[in-house]
């Protein structure tokens, strides 16, 4: 009724009047689906038996939605939907480009695998405490962060996933868990507060929070002081989330305390959200500032890789060792961000996706090993090969993959990154990638020699079975890693296109502002 009294010309300037194609609904479908299902799961909180049967099909449907979204994006380029029909930059835009869609699909697959693994790992009482609702809400937050095109909205999704992750990390309320959760919560709250401060300054400088709008306006301002400071705050905030040196200590201090599925999901998904945000902000929105800080990011990357690899060597707890390996991976991704250039960014994207899958699989594997061996400590863990050759095979495959040995998925992105560093002349950076790979290999093979090959320390060895809820996600993820390693072309091509889209975001900007002139700046 009210709309009829406003002239059409005025409406055209403020609202989307064209009908929305069905494919565009896919843009908001993943977070909305997760939030809706999460809410329904909270309502049936008192019936833990029902929860898994609702949550796992919902997560499977999420993977299908994510795959459809990726397909739509590969076909027609970045897709945008603005909330409430208001034209951007005033309406909050959800804009999905190839980078976001790839991260989103990988995250969805990891969430599904985690949901299945939780059938065995999270018992009924803890399920009643709310594992699945928190999982769905967290995945909703993660996918919202990958898909949104508004930087304040990105902050909101960060909060959504953080609050749900607090719920997940204290599941069980043991003393050690509360200790780990406190470290996790405080560091993450500081990180998000920095992020919020940066967003506030950003709004003061640009008067807009739409990522495409900022990206179009930033080159005109150039390397002026507020932008450089802003870039530094963003780097600090996202490094804290991604667990980069020197703000990485919270990760190994907290990730070994929650349930193993939760730790795996955190290692796979949450640190990658920090990496994604760093890529989006420092590569796409502020490329000039990102370049100016490339040396800083490069040094941080090197130190992150080395602390991660050396930390992994020094650990005697399987889960803590994996925590340090997560950090090494973050360093490798950051070195791609520091280099810039299409191959390096593509390598970083590829490595991030590989890491999401393999880190979750490694944690799930550690969970099975810990259950069979009765301990996570490498002092006590022994004779696992005799207990379960299948587990040993999976473990070896995952260890190869995470060290970057062929024919697994870790090999290709590392090869791309090393090649990019040498092409660029940053041989020291490429050297550190290789050295950290060697150190990681030594660390994981030490674990394999002690835990799997060593004769049992005490008692006899009984063959142990892998439960179906453990085997399905573990074998699935390992085969995925192997498949990507053997046939990397499709993902390589996608990563290259995605990196090109980040470095030259014309298509992204056009998707948000169809009337944008090629020189930048919306047409009058």
């Amino acid at each position: 009724m009210a709309a009829n009294s406003i002239p059409l010309e005025a409406l055209e300037k403020s609202m989307v009047l064209a009908p929305v194609p069905a494919a565009h609904w896919l843009v908001i479908a993943p977070p909305v689906w997760c939030l809706l299902l999460g809410a329904i799961l909270i309502m049936v909180r008192k019936r833990p038996g029902l929860q898994a049967w609702l949550a796992i099909p919902a997560l499977a449907a999420l993977v299908l939605i994510d795959a459809a979204l990726l397909f739509a994006v590969t076909r027609e380029g970045p897709v945008t939907m603005v909330m409430g029909r208001w034209l951007p930059p005033f309406g909050i835009a959800f804009t999905v480009d190839l980078t976001g869609a790839l991260f989103n699909l990988t995250g969805g697959i990891a969430a599904l695998a985690g949901g299945i693994a939780a059938l065995g790992d999270i018992d009924r009482t803890k399920r009643a405490y709310g594992f699945y609702p928190f999982l769905l809400l967290m995945v909703g937050g993660v996918s919202g962060a990958f898909l949104t095109g508004d930087i304040f909205n990105l902050y909101v999704w960060f909060e959504v996933l953080l609050i749900s992750s607090f719920g997940l990390i204290i599941l069980g309320s043991e003393r050690a868990q509360l200790d780990g959760a406190t470290k996790y919560a405080i560091l993450n709250l500081i990180g998000t507060t920095l992020f919020l401060i940066a967003v506030g300054i950003l709004y003061a400088v640009f008067g807009t929070l739409n990522m495409a709008d900022i990206a179009a306006k930033a080159p005109k301002l150039g390397e002026i002081p507020p932008l450089m400071t802003l870039g530094l705050i963003f780097i600090a905030a996202f490094s804290m989330k991604a667990a980069a040196f020197p703000v990485n200590f919270w990760l190994p201090a907290s990730y070994h305390t929650p349930r193993i599925v939760v730790a795996g999901l955190f290692a796979g998904l949450l640190t990658k959200v920090g990496v994604y945000a760093l890529l989006r902000v420092m590569v796409m929105i502020f490329p000039q500032e990102g370049n100016a800080y490339s040396l800083l990011i490069g040094v941080v990357a090197i130190l992150t890789m080395l602390t991660g690899a050396l930390g992994a060597l020094a650990q005697s707890d399987l889960r803590r060792m994996l925590g340090y390996i997560v950090i090494t991976g973050i360093g490798i991704i950051l070195s791609g961000v520091a280099l810039g250039g299409q191959t390096a960014i593509a390598g970083a994207l590829f490595y991030a996706m590989h890491s999401m899958i393999v880190m979750l699989a490694l944690y799930l594997m550690a969970g099975v090993a810990g259950r069979m061996g009765g301990s996570f400590s490498l002092h006590d863990l022994s004779g696992l090969y005799a207990r379960s050759p299948l587990l040993a095979a999976i473990t070896l495959a995952l260890f190869f993959s995470v060290s970057g040995l062929p024919p697994f998925s870790g090999f290709w992105p590392k090869a791309m990154l090393v090649k990019a560093t040498f092409d660029f002349g940053a041989w020291w950076q490429g050297g550190v990638i290789l050295v950290s790979g060697l150190l990681t290999t030594i660390a994981v093979m030490r674990a394999f020699a002690l835990g799997w090959w060593r004769m049992p320390v005490s008692g006899t060895v009984e063959p142990a079975r892998i439960e179906a809820s453990e085997a399905v996600p573990l074998v699935g993820l390992t085969l995925l890693s192997l498949g990507i390693g053997l046939y990397p072309e499709p993902l390589l091509a996608l990563a290259q296109t995605a990196a090109a889209g980040l470095l030259e975001p014309t298509a992204y900007l056009h998707s948000v502002f169809p009337g944008l002139s090629p020189l930048g700046g919306p047409l009058p």
Partner: protein, 165 residues
Amino acid sequence: MAKPKPARAPKPDPAEGQKRSPMRRGMDTLIFRTMAPYLTALMVLFSVFVLLRGHNQPGGGFIGGLIAASAFAILGIAQGVSAVRRALWFDPTAIAAAGLTVSTLAGLMSLAADVPFMTALWVFPNIFGTEVALSTPMLFDIGVYLVVTGAITTVALALEEREDD
């Protein structure tokens, strides 16, 4: 959805309060215990008023939800947590979840109208000779109201809960 609550809330409570020993709680005065159900009923009614007023004037789902949650907190202080839980009928967490569902569905209604997510849709049905303006933003706000009521009540009741409750 929120309206049945004020009618239901005070009913089972006075008897519940009198059963308890007066030594147990600091706030257990006769005046407070007698007044609390009426105060709660008034506050919940007021919170619904604030919620509905919020579309064009100060108010809305968030602030209304806070008022409703403080109403239940007062009842909890006066008569114990279990009395509030019984009066609410639903688990406060479930109320919050229902609110989240309502808000999400309010956004999804624009799917049927072929407009982007969360676009405001209006209907003006004529009820008993009065034109009533109903809209998806209002539905969304009711969802927010339930989320805030449920979440804050959960926190408040957890803080007020004792070993013997």
